[in-house]
Amino acid sequence: MSAALRQTGENFSARYQGLAPRLPGPPDLRRRAAAWFDRHGLPDTRDESWRFTSLRPLAGIVFSRAEDQDDTAPSLLARLPPTEAPLLVFAQGRMRADLSRFPAGGQAGLSVASFANEPSFGNVPESETEPLSALNTMLAEDGARIAVAPSADAGTLVLLHLASGHAEHPPAFHPRHQIRLGAGARLTLIEIALGTSVYLHNPLTEVVLAEQAELLHLRLQDESAAAFHLASLHVALGPGSAYESVALVRGARIARSELTAAIVGEGARFALHAAQILGGEQLADITTVVRHLAPGASSRQSIRNVLTERAHGVFQGRIAVDRIAQKTDGYQMNKALLLSEEAQINSKPELEIFADDVKCSHGATVGALDPNQLFYLQSRGVPKAEARAILVAAFLGETLEAIPHSWGRSVLEGAVQSWWKDRPL
């Protein structure tokens, strides 16, 4: 590791040392995470799971604790398309009751608290191989604690993460979120991350679905193009529960989204449809581990990458099927559309199957736009740039079209459309 990257890691450790007595919640877990982080620091490309994703652009940056300095949150909030849905706003990693909005008397079945007031680290496994989780555990100060009561349909909740960065003194924040759905409960959670300038957003989100619970989790990562987004998401699926996520990644200088799904309940359904649309020098990495620990469950992962200029996309997906997880149906597909010569994609699928009666498949494709398709559209009068946009939208189509939530779909589709405006081809 370069000395400069080590220095950036050591700054986090030093910050922990200074803050430790004042950090909320039980100190033991933090202490262990900090000890681990002290030894290992930030990952570099010699770490097997970081082979394709270099954090070198972080080297030498001294991130400071996020203060509520010059607050641009209200102006960022204005970028959000209007919605009637309850809105929970975080700025610089801290819950902002003043910007949040809930119906009078609250939303039936939904309860919301903050990590700052009710700290709990949940049941995220203390893994020795996940530096992003360790960094979060060490420094988390706030976060959302969202719970849906058993059998309740809590409708839609919008969870907004706003960030005001700073070019010389970039802040870092490490919110710790927890989403729990009781037996038979339902929720549509729409997460949107927006920001300006340079910062590090290092959230850790734990999702726990009890028996027959259903979560539709829509995510738009639209961080500032100069920011760093290092996120981990841990999902635990109870019997017959369903986790369905549609995620669009279009922001940040470097983004890594780790997702670990533990399918512990029989017959649970897990689905991730993700798209990364990247340009410039952007690097975005989706790394998933889906563990089938119970029989008769399904997991589907479908990833689409649209990469232009010198952008770099990474997808690493592991499906691990335990001995007892018979009748598992696992599927994984990573497709990339390269719109320039310099764009690149890395794809690393891994299947670890210990049960004998399972159906698991994976695949990856890489291609450019088809000149015959472009010409066909142009021959019908469609200008070249529009023809390209249509073909890219078609490539992403499956991912976004199927979103069973009209506002959520329009937010994600709008983010794809505006991507073209910023990037005339």
Binding site: R380, G381, K384
Partner: protein, 252 residues
């Protein structure tokens, strides 16, 4: 001056000369047939006229309504009223047929400084056109040409033509692979547009299409040149004698 004036057109693909001096003049309002052996350059001519990449034009000129056609982008050619019905229509997975057609129609209308049409009005027009062509509305919902049978693809080309109302349609073997009923549908689609403001180049191997779309003239393309032009009776005599005589004559 004719609507389409091709003079001494020579073009090559990957260094291989295909068109070797094509001369052809198509007056506005006329329908001409182009026949000729496999590999003689008929599709190449159609693609060069429509502006497909990968062909280098080495000599000659093409004027469309007096304008230099070869200087225009493919989309500009569509905007001035050129339409190519592809010999092999292209599949567009993920692109709905209705959306595709409306986008095309509005792109052309924008380029002609005409107002765009809204989704409702478009659907009405599309349904009417489908009805005239005895085609099912269901095809609007499908992805462009994806999973279409050979005949359905060809009919979809004619459907697009019906909506886009070109001034010049080039039909590249739109009749091949069609059953007898579909052949009539395609012919009716063309005949419905026939008039002073519509011209067509109909590329075909078979007289049977020309029974339905009676051409004003027939040209025979061989080894990249028009080797014979004549009236509709030329197609009939070719049906009898084949190309061998003509080709030998041209080579002599």
């Amino acid at each position: 001056m004719a609507l389409l004036e091709i003079r001494g057109l020579a073009a090559e693909v990957e260094g291989k000369p295909i068109l070797r001096g094509v001369d052809l003049s198509l007056p506005e309002g006329e329908v001409h047939a182009i026949m000729g052996p496999n590999g003689s350059g008929k599709s190449t001519l159609a693609y060069v006229l429509a502006g497909r990449e990968g062909y280098s034009v080495n000599a000659g000129s093409v004027r469309f309504d007096g304008e230099d056609l070869l200087a225009m982008d493919p989309e500009a050619r569509a905007a001035v009223g050129l339409f190519l019905a592809f010999q092999y229509p292209v599949e567009l997975p993920g692109v709905g047929n209705a959306n595709f057609l409306r986008t095309a129609l509005n792109a052309v209308r924008r380029a002609r400084a005409e107002p765009e049409i809204d989704a409702m009005k478009f659907l009405k027009e599309a349904r009417a056109a489908l009805k005239r062509l005895s085609m099912s509305e269901e095809m609007l919902k499908r992805n462009v040409n994806v999973g279409f049978s050979g005949g359905e693809k060809k009919r979809n080309e004619i459907f697009q033509m019906a909506l886009l109302r070109p001034r010049l349609a080039i039909l590249d073997e739109t009749d091949s692979g069609l059953d007898i009923d579909a052949l009539k549908i395609v012919a009716n689609g063309v005949n419905a547009l026939r008039g002073e403001k519509f011209s067509a180049l109909v590329i075909t191997h078979y007289q049977r299409l020309l029974d339905h779309i009676v051409p004003d003239k027939v040209h025979v393309l061989s080894e990249g040149r028009i080797v014979r032009s004549g009236g509709p009776e030329l197609a009939l005599s070719l049906e009898e004698s084949g190309y061998a005589g003509l080709v030998a004559e041209a080579a002599a």
